[in-house]
C-alpha cells in the first residue's frame, strides 16, 4: 500500500458565529522549518466589513445581557479551553513552541479568562460612583461598553494574546473584530471554535486571519468601530491618525505587558468602557421650603 497523503486543514475565519472561507478566495500557508502546517484564509477588507457589521448587530443583545450571564458564558469559554488543552498544545508545538512554553501559555490563558470572567458583575461596583454635587441632584457615574472594538493581536504569544484582547473587551458588553496572528494563526482560529461552542452569541466575537498590514488600515479608519486595542506594535502613526475622524479610543499593549501577570487588572476592562454621568433631579417637596 502506498504511503498516505496527509490532508492539510484549512483554518477558516469566524464571522457572525459561522466559519466561512474568505470571500476573496485567497489563502496562504503557515510553515514550520519550511514544512507547510496548514492553509490559512487571507481575509480581505470585505470580510472585515462583514465582521464589523456582524459585531454591530450583536452589540445591543450582548450588552443588554445581565453581567452575571456574560460572566457565566466567559467561564464556559475557560471550561471549553481546558478540555481542549491538548489540541492547543499540539498546534503551538507545530508552530515552533517548545512543549514547556506552550503549556505555560495555555495555563496562563485559561487562568486569565477565569480572572476576567469574574469581573463582569463587579466592574461597575468598583469604577461606578455617586458624586457629590451642589444642586439637588442625585449624580452618579456608570461605565458602559463602547460598542464595536477592533483588536489586532501579537505574534509573540498568539494564544495568550487572543484571549487577552478578546476577554477584557467583551466582558463589559463590547463586541469585537480580531485580526489574528499572521505567522501563528492556528491558536486564534481554534480559539474561535472554542468560542463558537461556549454559548457566546453569534457576532460577539469575529476572528479574521490574513495580512495585518492589509487589514489594519481599514479597521482603524472604519467609522463604525468605536475603539481599537492594538497588541501588534506594527501600526504606524499615519494609520493611527485615521482613527481620529470618529474619535476612536486607541489602546496599545506590548508583548511583555501581555505576558506579565499585572495584565490581570480591571483597568484593562475599563480601557474599553465609557463613563456615563447622570444628573437625576431629586424631588425636594416640603423640604425645600425652609419651614423646618
Amino acid at each position: 500500500m502506498s504511503e498516505r497523503i496527509k490532508v492539510l486543514k484549512t483554518y477558516k475565519i469566524f464571522i457572525d458565529g459561522k466559519f466561512p472561507r474568505t470571500e476573496s478566495g485567497r489563502y496562504y500557508q503557515t510553515k514550520n522549518n519550511g514544512i507547510p502546517i496548514a492553509n490559512i484564509c487571507m481575509s480581505s477588507r470585505k470580510d472585515m466589513k462583514n465582521a464589523v457589521a456582524a459585531a454591530r448587530k450583536a452589540f445591543l443583545g450582548w450588552s443588554n445581557r445581565t453581567a452575571y450571564n456574560r460572566s457565566q458564558i466567559l467561564y464556559r469559554i475557560a471550561e471549553m479551553l481546558e478540555t481542549r488543552k491538548s489540541q492547543f498544545l499540539e498546534e503551538l508545538v507545530l508552530q515552533g513552541w517548545t512543549n514547556k512554553n506552550a503549556e505555560l501559555e495555555i495555563y496562563k490563558t485559561i487562568d486569565r479568562i477565569i480572572y476576567f470572567a469574574g469581573w463582569a458583575d463587579k466592574i461597575n461596583q468598583v469604577f461606578g460612583s455617586v458624586n457629590p454635587v451642589a444642586t439637588s441632584h442625585f449624580n452618579f457615574t456608570m461605565l458602559e461598553p463602547m460598542g464595536v472594538v477592533g483588536l489586532i493581536t501579537n505574534e509573540e504569544t498568539p494564544l495568550l494574546a487572543i484571549a487577552s484582547c478578546i476577554i477584557p473587551a467583551i466582558v463589559s458588553g463590547n463586541t469585537v473584530v480580531v485580526i489574528a496572528s499572521e505567522k501563528a494563526p492556528l491558536s486564534a482560529l481554534t480559539f474561535a471554535e472554542v468560542i463558537s461552542n461556549s454559548d457566546v452569541p453569534p457576532g460577539v466575537v469575529n476572528i479574521l486571519s490574513g495580512s495585518k498590514k492589509e487589514l489594519s488600515p481599514h479597521i482603524y479608519s472604519h467609522m463604525d468601530v468605536n475603539a481599537i486595542g492594538d497588541f501588534s506594535n506594527l501600526t504606524n502613526d499615519e494609520i493611527k491618525l485615521t482613527a481620529v475622524e470618529n474619535l476612536k479610543r486607541i489602546r496599545s499593549f506590548g508583548a511583555s505587558e501581555i505576558s506579565n501577570d499585572n495584565f490581570d487588572s480591571p483597568y484593562v476592562i475599563k480601557d474599553f468602557m465609557e463613563a456615563k454621568t447622570t444628573w437625576h433631579p431629586i424631588e425636594s417637596g416640603f423640604a425645600n421650603s425652609n419651614s423646618y
Partner: protein, 298 residues
Amino acid sequence: MINFFSNTKVDKVGIEDRVSRISKRSLKSDAKLDGLKMILSMIDLTTLEGMDTVLKVQQLCYKATHLHYQISNLPNVAAVCVYPNMVKTAVDALKGTDVKVASVATAFPSGNSTLEIKIKDTKEAIINGADEVDMVISRGKFHSGEYNYVYDEIAAIKEVCGEKVRLKVILETGELGDFDHIRMASEIAINAGADFIKTSTGKISPAATLPITLVMLETIKDFYYKTGKIVGMKPAGGISNSKLALQYLMLVKETLGPIWLDKKWFRFGASSLANDVLMQIVKQQTGKYQSKNYFSND
C-alpha cells in the same frame, strides 16, 4: 373577447440561471459610482406605515431633496410615496422641486374593497395633487380566475388617472404563486393600461426578487416588441443594499436596454436603500467604511 393575456409559459430554469450569473458580477470604481447615483435618482422614497404622521412625511420630503449635506452633485430621489391622506402634506413640502408625489390607492395594501371606493380613493389622491398612483390588483379575484374583473378594474383606475397621472400597478407577486402567474398578471396589467408594473406592496414577504423582476421585464420586452410602447418597472420591498440595487440595474440594462435606465421607466420602491447607497458613495469617495450613526434616520 379581448385577448389580454397570452398563456406564455416562463422558463424557470432559464430565469434563475440568468439571475445567478448577474448576481455574481460586481461593478467597480467609476461605473459603480455612476450606478449608485443613478440608483438614488430612481428611488421612490417610501413611508407606508399605520403610524405615519405629518411630521414624518415632511421629514421624508426634506430627505428626498437633501440626501446628504457634504456630497456634491447628488440627484434628488424620483418620488416620495405615501398614503392618500398624506398626499397634500407631501405636495406642499415638495413644491418647487422635481420630486414627484406618488400615492398608493385602491385600498392598499390588500385591495379588498369595492370598485366604487377604489375609484374614489384614487380620485382623492389625484385631486390632492398626486403625480403618480400606485394601485394594487385584486389578488383574490385573480386566484378565482376572474381575470376579466382584474383587467377591468385596472382599466377603470387608469381611466381615472387619465394621461397626466402615471399609474403603477402592484401585482403583489408574493401572493401570486409561480412565475407563470406573475407573467399572466403582468400581461393583464400592461394590456389594461399600466404605465408601470410593480412587484410588491412591501407588506408581504417575499417582496421583490431578481427572478420575479426578470419575469416582469421579459413581459415588458415582449409587449414593446409587439406594440412599440414602453412600460416602466418598479421592484419594491426588500431592496435595502446597494450591491443588490446595482444588480437590478444590470438586469434592466441587459434585458431591456439603456432607455429604461431612467427614472421615467425604472424605479426602486424602498425606504432604507437610500442610506445604504449614500454610505457606499461616501465609502467610494473617502476609502473609509461608514457607520449608520453619521447618516439621517430613514
